[in-house]
């Protein structure tokens, strides 16, 4: 029974890490219409920078800065934000799909660095002995996991409330206006490039924070955790949950992570050992088909975007649903 509870807590901490990533992606795609195809790269930056800043000196990788963990987390988020700012400045002025290709490229390049820059990242061996956030509790695993879960819940809660306030405030309305009709928004004095860049940088910072939080929970990171499949999982979660709605992002991350873990467990139970690798491949095929089917059959996701312009305007409130599918983007951006 205790094992099950431990597993449940561990499972939830990982799921909440995905929830954070998904909230960041929702800010970029759901509210701003920016396609980030390199989510894994931004998560990796957050994890690696925080790990390098806080781990004791080691011959295997860069380290020994002795920075407090909280600063490490902020550093991870800041590094992800900085990377996003560089990419954003270079590509946000161009057609929207160039951002997709550039983010895809930066994630591939960062993965190459993580795998090969031995002195910096430890290469394929990764970084071990990342200080855990509540080290005093490390001899009581159950308590440690529970306290960490509480921390993750608090973190997700803070990010969620902050994002809700942002997107339902003037900044969020401008963001949506730009997404729907860039020309009209620009005519009203809203600089589309600035708002897009802000949303892109902020979303990436949240992804970096998620990477740091996960790294300090497990205490070990390796390049294998930041493969393109991570990007894909985040997208599947957002599309299933319903982009353009933070509640959808939270729900989607939990539902897809449960489905992913359950199908993995079933696959491991059913298949003999020599077919395990192929079983894992089949699992990805199924999730890929799910994502495609969702886009075709139910583009709004489980809970889609609501077309409330402002909470002060109540006319559309009753059952107001997005006229256009939430996963779609206007043709002119």
């Amino acid at each position: 029974m205790l094992d099950l509870a431990t597993y449940a807590v561990f499972f939830l901490v990982t799921a909440l890490g995905f929830t954070l990533i998904c909230l960041g992606l929702n800010l970029q795609w759901g509210f701003t219409g920016l396609f980030n195809a390199g989510v894994a790269g931004f998560v990796a930056i957050g994890a690696y920078v925080s790990a390098i800043l806080t781990t004791p000196e080691s011959a295997q990788h860069l380290g020994g800065f002795g920075v407090p963990i909280a600063i490490g987390w902020l550093g991870g988020a800041a590094a992800a934000a900085l990377t996003a700012a560089i990419v954003g400045v270079a590509t946000l002025r161009l057609r929207s799909d160039y951002l997709a290709i550039t983010t895809f490229g930066i994630a591939a390049s960062l993965l190459a660095v993580a795998q090969n820059a031995l002195r910096l990242t430890g290469g394929p061996f990764g970084i071990a002995f990342i200080p855990r956030t509540f080290a005093a509790l490390s001899d009581r695993p159950a308590l440690y996991d529970t306290v960490y879960l509480a921390l993750m819940v608090a973190l997700v809660g803070i990010v969620f409330v902050a994002l809700e306030r942002l997107v339902h405030g003037p900044w969020g309305r401008a963001l949506k206006a730009i997404r729907e009709d860039e020309m009209a928004a620009a005519a009203l004095g809203k600089d589309p490039r600035r708002f897009r860049l802000e949303a892109f940088v902020m979303g990436s910072a949240i992804m970096g924070l998620a990477g740091a939080a996960e790294a300090h929970f497990v205490g070990f990171i390796a390049p294998d955790e930041f493969l393109p499949i991570l990007t894909f999982q985040a997208w599947a979660m957002l599309i299933v949950g319903g982009s353009g709605n933070n509640r959808g992002a939270v729900l989607g991350s939990l539902v897809v992570w449960i489905a992913w873990s359950a199908s993995g467990t079933i696959m491991r139970g059913l298949l003999p050992a020599d077919l395990q690798v192929r079983g894992a491949a089949l699992q990805i095929v199924l999730i890929g088909v799910l994502l495609a089917a969702m886009l075709v059959l139910r583009p709004r996701g489980l809970i889609g975007e609501r077309t409330i312009v402002s909470r002060h305007i109540t006319a559309e409130r009753n059952g107001g649903v997005a006229a256009a599918p939430a996963a779609d983007e206007p043709a002119n951006s």
């Binding site: 219409g33 396609f35 195809a37 270079a90 590509t91 161009l94 057609r95 929207s96 799909d97 160039y98 997709a100 290709i101 550039t102 895809f104 490229g105 930066i106 591939a108 390049s109 993965l111 190459a112 660095v113 795998q115 090969n116 393109p228 499949i229 990007t231 894909f232 997208w235 599947a236 599309i239 690798v277 192929r278 491949a281 089949l282 990805i284 095929v285 999730i287 890929g288 088909v289 994502l291 495609a292 886009l295 075709v296 583009p299 256009a324 599918p325 996963a327 779609d328 983007e329 206007p330 043709a331 951006s333």
Partner: protein, 299 residues
């Protein structure tokens, strides 16, 4: 750059260019970057594997001259090209066309992202994660001017050149080619001019898929087959397309050669494991300096 690196770069670049032709045409005509295009290369290469084994029961399985493969692989490559073209068209019919009809330029990109993972892992599911080879024979590189080159590599270069010239003639000399270029340039105007857009779209997928399959088989002949082979080339493909200018087939080939040469030339400096990062840096430089590419008109 040493002559040998030059040859490596041209070899790599020509397969990238060949694969990128289909990507640049679908990009221009359908208006979205297809992240599943790399998988068409993998599928072409992997489809040819069992077909070649089947065909070698019918045709003479002896290798041709000094080459590592014989007529069965040639026949299998042609069949795989047809099948991959059909696969690309089927993918459009099932997925992309439905999303296009609904409007929105980015939804097909997300869908292609999902399709890419599903297609790649389907290969891994069927064939396993380990690399595969058309032939286990070792080829000895022979001196050829200042280069050392294997007979297979010469054939790969010749086949690529022939296909590129063929595509060029198709696009510049035939009615279909002109219709394709017109649609890439301006779909609305092309439709007003009476061009059958649906037919153009069908042919673009068939041709793009077939060329990707050919490129995949050529990579399989000179390097090896692995489930990730197409995905690993996706970034160079996109870099080639954007460098050449979206919609320009000659641009894609030249872009591919530039990327291949850049990757080969940087090998001794930074190590070949950073190939993807080199392609990315070229891409970023193009986006900053000339985002329309060398031969592209629109941004």
């Amino acid at each position: 750059m040493s002559p040998q690196l030059l040859l490596d770069g041209v070899l790599l670049g020509s397969t990238i260019g060949l694969g990128a032709i289909g990507l640049t045409l679908t990009y221009a005509i359908l208006g979205f970057g297809n992240f599943a295009h790399g998988e068409l290369m993998s599928w072409g290469a992997y489809l040819a594997l069992p077909i070649a084994a089947l065909v070698s029961g019918i045709l003479v399985a002896e290798p041709l001259g000094a080459l590592s493969f014989g007529w069965p692989l040639v026949a299998a490559a042609l069949i795989a090209m047809a099948l991959t073209g059909a696969l690309a068209f089927a993918l459009d019919w099932i997925l992309f066309s439905r999303l296009r009809r609904r409007g929105g330029t980015m939804t097909p990109v997300i869908a292609s992202f999902g399709a890419s993972l599903a297609l790649r892992n389907l290969i891994q599911f069927v064939f396993g994660p380990q690399p595969a080879y058309y032939s286990r024979d070792l080829q000895i590189a022979m001196p050829f001017g200042p280069f050392r080159v294997t007979p297979d590599q010469i054939v790969v270069l010749a086949v690529t050149a022939a296909l590129v010239i063929g595509v060029h003639l198709l696009l510049s000399r035939t009615h279909l080619g002109r219709a394709m270029r017109a649609t890439a340039e301006n779909p609305q105007l092309a439709q007003i001019a009476g061009i059958d857009i649906a037919g153009v779209v069908r042919n673009v997928w068939l041709i793009g898929g077939a060329l990707a399959a050919a490129a995949g088989v050529l990579v399989g002949v000179t390097v090896q087959l692995s489930p990730g082979m197409g995905f690993d080339l996706l970034l160079p493909l996109f870099a080639a397309v954007i460098l050449g200018g979206i919609g320009s087939a000659p641009g894609a080939v030249i872009g591919g050669l530039v990327i291949g040469l850049a990757q080969a030339a940087s090998g001794p400096l930074v190590g070949s494991e950073y190939r993807s990062a080199v392609a990315f840096l070229v891409l970023l430089a193009v986006l900053i300096v000339k985002p329309t590419g060398l031969f592209g008109g629109r941004s």
